[in-house]
């Protein structure tokens, strides 16, 4: 049982997609999680629900709406075309956008839990030490949730690597561009190539297992971040 060029291509593409998605999420999730952790706004509930939606929605629903919104006749599609970016569905960039939304709760929730633990008090203490809110976020809040940040990154990466439904809807199964490992696996099964399918599936299982082992082995130290994930 070994992996052929098509499988390696798909696995590498998967890794690239997961890495890009994780990078975007690590930029996007901390401020959002912080806002959710400390805001007294009445919009907190709806926004938190929106972030958590991908946990309960079939990925195809998300994919479907993204297809409509980002497609040539969708509002966002019109925008990206006007900006000269073309349309995003069926491109690698489009997959990154979709994966970011799809994996958002996996990045935001552990961070939010850890940040709620850190709380506003840290920010107040920092303020009385001549540290403004932005600097305090970088030098006080983020360092205190660094373990949750690693957890968020690993989970985002693993979750993105395992996604299928969204990619199927807006990916288009293009080798080297959008044919990630899970989609190739589907193709292999349909072509009755069980040998190759086994090898690829096993690679995915081992990878996901390694990621989760990493996260859960550190649950003591990571405390509430992982606990929040387990509550689901």
């Amino acid at each position: 049982m070994s992996l052929g060029p098509a499988e390696w291509q798909a696995l590498l593409l998967t890794a690239r997609l997961a890495a890009a998605t994780t990078a975007v999420l690590l930029l996007l999730a901390p401020p959002l999680a912080w806002w959710l952790a400390v805001t007294p706004s009445r919009w907190r509930g709806p926004v938190a629900a929106l972030v958590a939606l991908p946990l309960v929605l079939p990925p195809t629903v998300l994919g479907f709406y993204l297809l409509l919104a980002l497609g040539p006749s969708g509002p966002l599609g019109a925008l990206t075309q006007a900006l000269g970016l073309g349309t995003l569905p069926f491109t690698f960039t489009g997959l990154v956008v979709a994966s970011v939304l799809y994996s958002l709760p996996f990045a935001v929730q552990p961070l939010e839990a850890a940040m709620a633990q850190v709380g506003r008090r840290s920010l107040e203490v920092a303020a009385t030490l001549r540290t403004g809110p932005l600097a305090a976020f970088f030098w006080v809040v983020l360092p205190q949730v660094r373990r949750a940040l690693v957890a968020a990154g690993v989970l985002s990466f693993a979750h993105t690597a395992g996604e299928f439904g969204v990619v199927l809807m807006i990916g288009g199964n293009i080798p080297g561009e959008t044919r990630v490992a899970s989609v190739l696996l589907y193709d292999l099964v349909e072509a009755l190539e069980y040998e190759r399918a086994h090898a690829l599936a096993l690679a995915l299982v081992l990878f996901s297992f390694a990621c989760l082992t990493y996260v859960y082995s550190r649950r003591e130290a990571w405390g509430i971040g992982v606990a929040a994930l387990e509550r689901r």
């Binding site: 390696w8 409509l68 497609g71 569905p89």
Partner: protein
């Protein structure tokens, strides 16, 4: 070592001296297309890569902006739709093959036949979802002719002929309707056992190729478009288990 080099080649962006065309391929034609792609690559610098799927889904993706150069559909109606929507010029289409429907069993001793469909012991038959698979619609019509009294027969729908094949192969149904090219070739059914459904029992499976907007600007797509209509491609297609399409 050679193997590693091969992987590396696949990871590289399309090489400077050749172009790549992206082809949306109906699931039933995926295996045949792989042979065609190899032969095509041997003729020049260009490459084609396949995105296999159910025809209906591929058309939906094209309508939403999927970057395909060519479509090899399982039917004619899908291309009609694309022409009507202005995505394909009327002259940029032709029937590249006519599909042959098979009632198939994974068991080589079962030898499916019209009689089998009448047997009350048979409770379930697999077929592609007629909603988005031309083979599914053909299978439904064939069932009307082969087993008119079997309203009780349970239908197990696959997403495409490819998934239908997996269902039957894995025992989800004792028999199912698939394409001949999936389970055999011009010489007949090679894997398991099957019954070739007469063409008269269903609307013809006029598998239509279309040159899409993007493909008109892509040298690789245009080259493959020519190749597909040539004598060599036609031999490959017929050998794979399709009836001859329109003359090129």
């Amino acid at each position: 070592m050679a193997r590693i080099a091969l992987w590396m080649l696949c990871l590289l962006p399309p090489l400077a001296w050749g172009e790549t065309a992206r082809v949306a391929v109906a699931a039933n034609f995926a295996a045949t297309f792989a042979t065609l792609a190899d032969r095509f690559a041997a003729t020049g610098h260009h490459r084609v890569v396949a995105s296999p799927g159910a025809t209906g889904k591929l058309v939906a993706q094209i309508l939403h902006g999927a970057p395909f150069d060519l479509l090899l559909a399982a039917d004619e109606a899908s291309v009609d739709l694309l022409v009507a929507r202005g995505r394909v010029r009327p002259q940029d289409r032709y029937v590249y093959a006519e599909g042959i429907l098979v009632l198939w069993s994974a068991d080589s001793r079962r030898s499916p036949s019209p009689e089998l469909l009448q047997d009350p012991a048979l409770q379930r038959v697999a077929l592609p979802n007629p909603r988005h698979s031309p083979y599914g619609r053909a299978a439904l019509a064939a069932l009307g002719r082969l087993a008119p009294g079997r309203g009780d027969l349970e239908h197990l729908y696959g997403e495409s002929v490819a998934q239908t094949l997996v269902f039957v192969e894995r025992g989800g149904a004792p028999v199912g309707f698939v394409a001949l090219a999936q389970v055999g070739d011009a010489g007949g059914v090679a894997r398991g056992s099957g019954y070739l459904v007469p063409a008269a029992f269903h609307p013809p499976l006029r598998q239509t190729a279309a040159l899409l907007e993007r493909g008109r600007r892509n040298p690789a797509a245009l080259a493959f478009w020519e190749f597909l209509r040539g004598a060599e491609a036609r031999r490959v297609i017929e050998a794979a288990g399709y009836r001859r399409g329109e003359a090129g």
